[in-house]
Symmetry: C2
């Protein structure tokens, strides 16, 4: 790699890390190009030699968050030889814990909207989809007669339901919920969904 390219890559990494720190501290609303440029020691305009636009920068930070979430969920899975149903409960609770521990970065994943008319790039969608395997696999074991398509739809629904509980719980919208109570509730609801779906599939 030439020295120029090397410097460019280092500066780009520094920019992404600075953006990550900024989002972690104050959310997406706190992200300012000028401050990032000052922090990594480059001119304001030079930021857009490093990333295409603000969307790409936020997606790159999101990519790091998703990577850590992936590792966190994998660790939760390997903890025990639980049944597939119990595994889904564990994954859901691990998701809640990760969100609580990485609140602003996790929140940014969902709050970010692409600039009007611009589609989310394929690489970012691919990374999001990749995470669904944590839910997909136990569901496929639980419901062997369902098609891959049906399992995908159920995985998405189950994720969305758990995400809703985590989001409203942690945002403290509508009555604040202590984290322990939220974890208990998630466990009850995921168990109910799994058992309810099993009843229907019989």
């Amino acid at each position: 790699m030439s020295k120029t390219l090397e410097r460019h890559a280092k500066l780009r990494d520094a920019l992404i890390l600075a953006a990550e720190r900024s989002i972690a501290a104050g959310g997406l609303g706190a992200l300012k190009t000028r401050e990032l440029a000052r922090e990594i020691g480059c001119a304001n305009g030079a930021v857009y030699n490093l990333v295409e636009d603000m969307d790409e920068l936020i997606l790159r930070v999101g990519s790091r968050t998703l990577g850590r979430l992936d590792a966190f969920l994998t660790a939760a899975e390997s903890e025990s030889s639980a049944s597939s149903g119990e595994r889904l409960v564990r994954i859901a609770i691990a998701y809640c814990d990760f969100a609580a521990q990485n609140f602003e970065l996790w929140r940014a994943l969902f709050e970010h909207r692409m600039q009007r008319g611009k589609p989310t790039p394929d690489w970012a969608i691919g990374e999001q989809m990749e995470l669904f395997r944590h839910i997909y696999r136990p569901l496929a074991t639980l419901f062997p007669k369902k098609s891959a398509q049906e399992i995908s739809v159920t995985a998405r629904s189950l994720f969305s339901a758990v995400h809703g509980m985590v989001a409203l719980g942690l945002e403290q919208k509508l009555i604040a919920v202590p984290l322990d109570a939220l974890r208990t509730e998630i466990s009850i609801i995921v168990k109910a969904i799994v058992n309810g779906l099993a009843l229907e599939a019989q």
Copy 2:
């Protein structure tokens, strides 16, 4: 009412309606004091004689949205003499339809965060809580042995789960879901939760 008070009340209503139109058209991000002032024909600063701050203005618009949601859910309930379980499914689907039809105003209810350190006023929390009766009542009928506290917690969980499905589905985060497919999925998951909880309660 004196003419001055009357004028004040009229201008305040006009401000809230102008804010509602602005949010409906472009979301919370599009709300600008200056444009609202121009639209209702008053000076920029005069806006804050009509409402305390932007938070209050947004909450007043939210209050109108919640009022319409309440009426919408009530209409959905009165459509049939369904069982309590079916009623919960209907309410969930009606919630989804309302969100789809009032996307930006519905989204603003959840996106709005009070300025740092300021609590949500009691009147706004009261209005939000009031809506839970639509879920609370059928749940109380389904689970007569559960305490009021337990039913409240379950109502909040059920709402959060449905809200998550609606939010991620309509935001088109993670694979776009056609509205019909989303309604079907909500119906499957709410039914599974109700049946799964009933199984546990036996």
